[in-house]
């Protein structure tokens, strides 16, 4: 049912493009819309979303990991940093954008800086806690057997800290994937963008919101499952419990 351009008669009907009855009648959810707009809307938004999240987690992890390694033996340093990362997390995202825009403009950088800041609270304390959870007698024996500091870190501390680090990473990934939707307030990017657009429309058509929302949830779940699999692969000793 196409309204011919320039048709003089009748009310002016906004052009929502071609659509079947489901779309035209504003049903709750229309697979046909998802099919029709996968290529031009959902798929690009999903790719952008993955990119936004992956970069944020990657950079966040590098920062948290390096800082964690440098400070975990010194509680007086790691404690304030944990407090600082928690403080960053309390800043509302939109406010953080406001703070950042004068410096980094309306760019992906602004979004990434905010997302990275939010990952720290989940990554840093877990990395520190993981490294500090290594049993004292394992460290003692490592020293007594002639491990150097570096060998102790690489073959005793990091492997034993891994379960806790991965636990932090899982929370960070799920939360970042969810948070990355706010990028749409600044940029036409990510799965937040279709949601953002649909919310601005007065139309009661909600399929876009549901589809983009469901994709966000699915992405978070898939990423989480990958991390669970990674953990099983890297931490075989924790899987086989005590007899």
């Amino acid at each position: 049912m196409i309204v011919a351009a320039g048709a003089p008669a009748g009310p002016i009907v906004p052009n929502f493009g071609s659509g079947n009855r489901c779309v035209v009648e504003n049903h709750t959810f229309c697979w046909s819309w998802v099919n029709a707009h996968w290529g031009d809307t959902l798929q690009p938004a999903l790719s952008q979303h993955v990119e936004l999240s992956a970069i944020a987690i990657g950079i966040g992890f590098v920062i948290a990991f390096t800082t964690g390694l440098l400070t975990y033996r010194r509680r007086w340093m790691s404690r304030p940093l944990e407090g600082f990362s928690a403080l960053l997390y309390t800043i509302p995202s939109l406010a953080l954008f406001q703070i950042l825009v004068p410096f980094t403009g309306i760019t992906t950088t602004t979004v990434e800086v905010a997302l990275v800041a939010y990952t720290l609270v989940m990554l840093f304390p877990n990395i520190v806690a993981g490294l500090n959870s290594v049993p004292a007698d394992a460290l003692d024996v490592a020293r007594a057997m002639g491990f150097t500091r570096r060998q102790t870190l690489l073959s005793v501390e990091l492997p034993l800290a891994l379960p806790t680090i991965v636990a932090g990473l899982r929370v960070a990934v799920v939360s970042t994937v969810s948070l990355a939707t706010i990028a749409a307030f600044l940029l036409p990017k990510g799965l937040g963008y279709p949601i953002f657009l649909a919310l601005k429309e007065p139309s009661p058509f909600r399929t876009e919101i549901y589809a983009a929302g469901a994709l966000t949830v699915a992405l978070a779940l898939v990423a989480d499952l990958l991390l669970v699999a990674l953990r099983r692969f890297l931490v075989p000793w924790a899987r086989r419990g005590a007899v």
């Binding site: 049993p135 024996v141 007594a144 002639g146 492997p159 086989r240 419990g241 007899v243």
Partner: protein, 338 residues
């Protein structure tokens, strides 16, 4: 002797004799240590020579500096003054990692790395020393056999082992690079009495077979008496109260502290130190046939106990195959303590 052969193969990389490395002599000379923030010595002016191949037990109440002394030998704790020498070489003459890789170290519950398999744990020091993968692997099998563990345990993780098994793995790991010296810090403390006794016997067997020097820390005087060739009894502040053989300590406690620390029933405990097969037995007489029997592997204490039970002042000592070896009499036991 099989264990010696096993060791010979294992130690090929160290260019040592086929029997594996013999024990090392350890000399502590005027060693003192005070921890920062305390106003008394943890160890004060301690001098001690442990002969090569000896099993020396450091024993004493908590706070006597026995663990501190042990940990100064492999420089886990630095000394404030004095000198420690292993086979005439100062422990400060080599790098700390090199020193430690040449000294076996065993702690309570084995101190195993929870993320490494049994094989991974045992192969730790050989890997640090750069042995090849196949050398490490064959060494691990030898050691599992040596400490009486099934080869199928090699791929298990520590969480899947019993306390006794963990301790055996810990011992195997300490022996992996065939060090001349083992340091053991209350190794059997966490074990239940039956397993503990079994492992004590196993360690004594290994010590006889391998002739390593072993420094063994415990707070349990009975364990010290059972395990030690020599016992160093330390008192508060790391002062040496007495350093002698178990028999001499029981027979002649040097002072009141040692007497109290060692405890009651010293005569009976001395008898427990001697096996019938080690003492001179009286010739069997015609009457021997009617005397109660006792195995030659039993201790003199067990013999006396049996005499009391059976109301007989003499027993026939029989060998493994039931052959009569001689007589043991109550009077022998008394003379032995003389």
């Amino acid at each position: 002797m099989t264990a010696l052969a096993v060791f010979g193969r294992g130690s090929r990389r160290s260019n040592r004799s086929i029997e594996g490395s013999p024990g090392a002599e350890i000399r502590l000379e005027h060693v003192s240590k005070r921890y920062p923030g305390t106003n008394s010595d943890a160890v004060s002016d301690l001098s001690l020579t442990i002969a090569a191949g000896e099993l020396c037990v450091l024993v004493g109440p908590s706070g006597c500096g026995k663990t501190t002394t042990l940990r100064m030998i492999n420089r886990l704790i630095g000394l404030d003054s004095g000198e420690i020498e292993i086979d005439g070489r100062s422990t400060r003459a080599t790098t700390v990692t090199e020193l430690r890789r040449g000294i076996g170290y065993v702690i309570q519950e084995g101190g195993l790395f929870p993320h490494m398999t049994v094989a991974g744990n045992i192969g730790t020091v050989p890997r640090l020393l750069g042995w090849s993968r196949s050398e490490v692997k064959s060494r691990v099998s030898e050691l599992l056999e040596l400490v009486g563990l099934d080869l199928t345990l090699a791929e298990r993780y520590p969480a899947e082992l019993s306390g006794g098994q963990k301790q055996r793995v810990g011992l195997a790991r300490a022996l992996a690079a065939d060090p001349p010296l083992l340091l053991m810090d209350e190794p059997f403390n966490a074990l239940d009495p039956v397993v503990r006794e079994h492992l004590q016997d196993e360690l004594l067997r290994l010590h006889r077979e391998l002739a390593k020097t072993i420094v063994f820390v415990t707070h349990d005087v009975d364990e010290a008496i059972k395990m030690g060739n020599r016992i160093a009894i330390l008192r508060q502040g790391g002062v040496l109260a007495q350093y002698d053989t178990p028999d001499s300590i029981l027979a002649r406690p040097a002072n009141e502290f040692v007497q109290t620390f060692v405890g009651e029933n010293r005569a009976l405990r001395r008898l427990a130190l001697r096996r019938l097969e080690e003492i001179e037995l009286a010739k069997p007489t015609g009457a021997a046939k009617r005397l109660p029997e006792i195995a030659a592997s039993a201790s003199l204490r067990e013999a006396v106990s049996r005499m009391i039970e059976t109301k007989s002042e003499a027993l026939t000592v029989v060998g493994e195959n039931g052959e009569t070896l001689g007589l043991v009499r109550l009077g022998d036991a008394m003379r032995m303590l003389g």
